[in-house]
């Protein structure tokens, strides 16, 4: 190769590298550098109408119409804005971000509330609309990798209103792009009262096959106009009307395995059953007894495990949900033609029930967080919701348990996936009796007869 040719190749490579670098960088840097960052109006220069459209998403509304859950009104919207259940027991309405009463021990207060993670400024809060709401959207908390979280703190303005601060610095705005895992985990990591409490997973290369491949949350939860596709978790009701599945053609398709026998399983077995054999997080919580923490405030008593430290329960699931005061979980059966055997993270929580109606009551956390008085929290929530005789309700409220089946859709593994004998054996993880199989069928389903020849052959090949 001549000197000239080598120079040309080097030049081409340099050009390609520069182009690739430029392509990965978000456009508009010069404009932001010149004019500074002014919030959504800066983003709107290139993305007109986006802030207004964002106000119609679950991330802003914390609620949506829900059509697959029993005992709710399909015309109303439900979500963490207003739901009453035992993972959180409060919600954005009754446990609105505020300065809680001073601790009787220390005389100190703090800001707390379910809507702390809402991407507004609290003056424009969950579900707000109009130009002020659009101007209050915190685009950078999801899109910047240089966000300074010292800015995202609640404070009181000159009118005494509680405001959630935002980092609207030029530095943060110059680091915008597709949300990283970190951006999502800012809120989703510590939901439910602490890290890995609510959903029991961490999205790291050590705990999830997708993360190990360098994928980020939005590679699967791929949005269109900020509408976020989700799976069908029985306890994740609010949705943007778009859903995702492992079997999507852009992901694994309906025949993901080379082995036809394994592909045949996918008609009745959810992918997660074999590929998410473990779960984690909180497995029990008590909202009727709060524990004092070293700062002398109180938190609900919570029992929890790390990611991958607990095992799921398995049930038939057809995408519809049984919802009663004491149970939220999957509906389905072996024979409905729609259900698949699916793994769930089991969580049980104790909270107060209305003695007269048997309904689960919600709680404002301000009072119990300050002094441990849980009934005061029930009273405050009952007043906020306009219940009749709130004092009587709070006084007579009866503690009780609710069991929740959470979807188990992360902690994906390829190497530690269940194999034949993990299910088809007398000590297998699936309880075929509970899943509706007859004794005769169970004898067949738990015998090595099913896989002996095939696995023996494979074993021979491998060794």
């Amino acid at each position: 190769m001549s000197k000239k040719s080598v120079t040309a190749v080097v030049l081409c490579l340099a050009l390609a590298a520069t182009a690739a670098l430029a392509a990965s960088e978000h456009p508009g840097k010069e404009s932001i550098e010149k004019s500074g960052y002014k919030g959504p109006e800066t983003c709107e220069e290139c993305h007109p109408g986006t802030a207004k459209a964002f106000l119609d998403t679950v991330h802003w509304k914390h609620a949506s119409k829900v059509t697959n859950v029993d005992n709710i009104n399909p015309k109303l919207e439900y979500g963490m804005k207003n739901r009453i259940y035992v993972m959180c027991n409060g919600n954005d309405i009754v446990n609105n971000l505020k300065e809680i009463p001073k601790s009787p021990v220390t005389g100190k207060s703090k800001f707390s509330g379910c809507n702390t993670c809402h991407p507004g400024n609290h003056l424009s809060d969950v579900g707000s609309t109009g130009p002020a709401a659009a101007a209050a959207v915190d685009c950078l908390v999801c899109h910047s990798t240089e966000y300074d979280f010292r800015q995202r703190k609640a404070f009181k303005n000159e009118k005494g209103e509680v405001v959630m601060g935002q980092d609207r610095s030029t530095k943060a705005a110059l680091a915008i792009g597709k949300p990283t895992v970190k951006n999502c985990m800012v809120c989703h990591e510590a939901a439910g009262g602490g890290v890995i409490v609510k959903r029991g997973f961490s999205f790291t290369k050590d705990t999830d096959a997708h993360a190990a491949k360098g994928m980020v949350c939005v590679d699967c939860h791929k949005t269109k106009n900020h509408k976020m596709p989700t799976g069908h978790d029985p306890n994740n009701w609010a949705n943007d009307g778009v859903f995702l599945s492992c079997a999507d053609t852009s992901c694994h398709g309906v025949k993901p395995h080379k082995d036809a026998d394994l592909n045949r399983h996918s008609a009745k077995i959810a992918c997660q059953t074999c590929h998410i054999p473990r779960t984690g997080g909180a497995f029990a919580k008590d909202f009727t007894v709060w524990e004092q923490t070293p700062d002398k405030f109180y938190e609900p008593t919570t029992l929890k495990k790390e990611a991958n430290e607990t095992t799921p329960a398995y049930a038939w699931y057809n995408g519809t949900v049984k919802n009663t005061p004491h149970f939220i979980g999957p509906k389905g059966s072996r024979k409905d033609g729609k259900s698949k055997i699916t793994p769930f993270k089991i969580f049980q929580g104790r909270a107060y029930y209305n003695k007269q109606t048997g309904e689960l009551l919600s709680m404002d956390f301000a009072q119990p967080m300050s002094n441990g008085d849980t009934r005061a929290g029930v009273l405050s929530a009952a007043k906020t919701l306009g219940l009749k005789n709130p004092e009587k309700i709070a006084k007579e409220a009866v503690p009780g348990w609710q069991t929740i089946y959470f979807g188990s859709n992360h902690l994906v593994t390829k190497t530690k996936a269940l194999y034949c004998a993990n299910c088809h054996a007398p000590n297998g993880v699936l309880n075929f009796k509970d899943l509706g199989y007859s004794d005769k069928e169970i004898v067949k389903l738990t015998s090595p007869e099913l896989y002996m020849e095939k696995v023996a052959k494979k074993q021979k090949e491998e060794w």
Partner: protein
């Protein structure tokens, strides 16, 4: 006299053994604690290590933790974890340093 010397030697050997085995056990042992951060020391945005001093909730003694994992370092850098936060921590004593194996805020929403 001979007997007394023998007893003393035996006691000394026993004590030395306990000390040796004791320190061997603690070297690889994972220690759990919950405490409030009183100080974070990190050298700039490219730092690959940092130290955080926690005031142990049980003993009220300061414990200096060395943090090397990227996830926690990133939380120090963008101030998702700051002084005053309460931390649940697991660490191992390696070469005289308390090296973090788990470093998480206790709080959530």
């Amino acid at each position: 006299m001979k007997k007394a010397v023998s007893v003393m030697v035996l006691v000394a050997v026993a004590a030395l053994s306990i000390l040796c085995f004791g320190s061997m056990a603690s070297a690889g042992e994972e220690i759990k604690m919950v405490g409030v951060i009183t100080k974070i020391e990190i050298a700039g945005p490219d730092a690959k290590t940092a130290t955080a001093t926690l005031k142990d909730n049980k003993t009220e003694q300061p414990v200096v933790i060395t943090v090397n994992d990227d996830l926690t370092l990133d939380k120090f850098k963008d101030h998702r974890i700051v002084e005053g936060d309460e931390i649940r921590c697991k660490y191992e004593v390696i070469d005289g340093k308390n090296v973090s194996k788990l470093f998480r805020k206790t709080a959530g929403c």
